[in-house]
Symmetry: C2
Subunit: 199 residues, 2 copies
């Protein structure tokens, strides 16, 4: 490589169907393509939260990287953990109400695994960020009204910290964007390892 120049950063592909992850990455001013992974999540059976989000994030990234070996592929997975139990997306409205009753008035932990894969160079990075989230107390009526908004149905733990859900969360400890679905502080440092600067 000539002195004083650096390789151009690779094209970025986000291996996620989440509109929230897409919006977060857009807000950073990065240009990227989106290709949701075709990855069978049932093959990941880890009960440990950190191991689980790492396996899921990396499984998604590797699947998409296989079709885009020259790209830098970002995979991510977010889960909610309370009382040692992992909460994924609710199966139906009754399941959403059950999850919200569990979260009411208490603190739970949100984990997001992030995997960066660049097959052409063989380089990769795999990290996990954890954020504690404290809910205010919820009445059954508030839970019913929140579920009726439809907001809980496609989200781990049956809530979104953006939108209506913002009024349920008394406070957090850690990275806010991790709860939305991508830990931006950590992600920026991971991207820099691959020559991608956010601004």
């Amino acid at each position: 490589m000539p002195h004083g120049t650096s390789p151009s950063p690779p094209k970025i592909v986000l291996a996620s169907a989440s509109p929230r992850r897409r919006a977060l990455l857009s807000d950073l001013g990065l240009s990227f393509a989106v290709e949701p992974a075709r990855f069978d999540e049932s093959q990941v059976t880890d009960g440990d939260p950190v191991a689980r989000v790492k396996a899921l994030a990396d499984g998604k990234a590797l699947d998409v990287a296989g079709r885009h070996p020259d790209a830098l592929v970002i995979g991510a997975d977010t889960i909610v953990v309370i009382d040692g139990t992992i909460l994924g997306k609710p199966e139906d409205e009754e399941d959403a109400r059950r999850m919200l009753r569990l979260l009411s008035g208490r603190t739970h932990r949100v984990y997001t695994g992030v995997s960066l894969r660049h097959l052409a160079s063989g380089r990769h990075a795999l990290e996990v960020e954890a954020t504690d989230v404290t809910f205010g107390p919820l009445t059954d009526e508030q839970i019913a009204r929140y579920v009726a908004t439809g907001e809980p149905m496609d989200k781990a733990g049956a809530y979104g910290i953006q939108g209506y859900g913002a009024t349920l969360v008394r406070g957090i400890h850690g990275c806010y964007f991790n709860v939305v679905g991508l830990p931006l502080y950590r992600l920026a440092r991971m991207l820099a390892l691959f020559g991608v600067e956010v601004f």
Copy 2:
């Protein structure tokens, strides 16, 4: 009032020019009008952060309420405090760089005062939320590049926690939306006192 009915909630007016506050209130699904206060902030000389954001929030709310006595008016003010010093909006780019050097690698506190005024009934509420924000370490080069994006110039403390600024903040302790400009958990409870339910 007939049994089983309740008075219809008052019309809401947001007494703020901040596009971020407007977006937050819209995200809650509330309908409201916007009328920035004509309020001389220099008349508030409190050096104590809590007294200062209370006085500024209430000054803005009262100014607009005087023209809309039947409306529920929301006033708010946000400041950044580090080492006992209040940081407002930067005066110029050099001032922004100075503030960011002060925040680099350390924890500061963000205060937002919220005032609700309904002159027709004489009812009002005035509260303050505080959130701790921890920056990662910033190099002079990162600071220069961040200032060059223009993002710091209209924001207390010379940063926005949304957008590029998200990659500067390692984590927070407390309400995230308070840092953006409106503490939504607290605001929802204040609005409920006036018969306004968020969802």
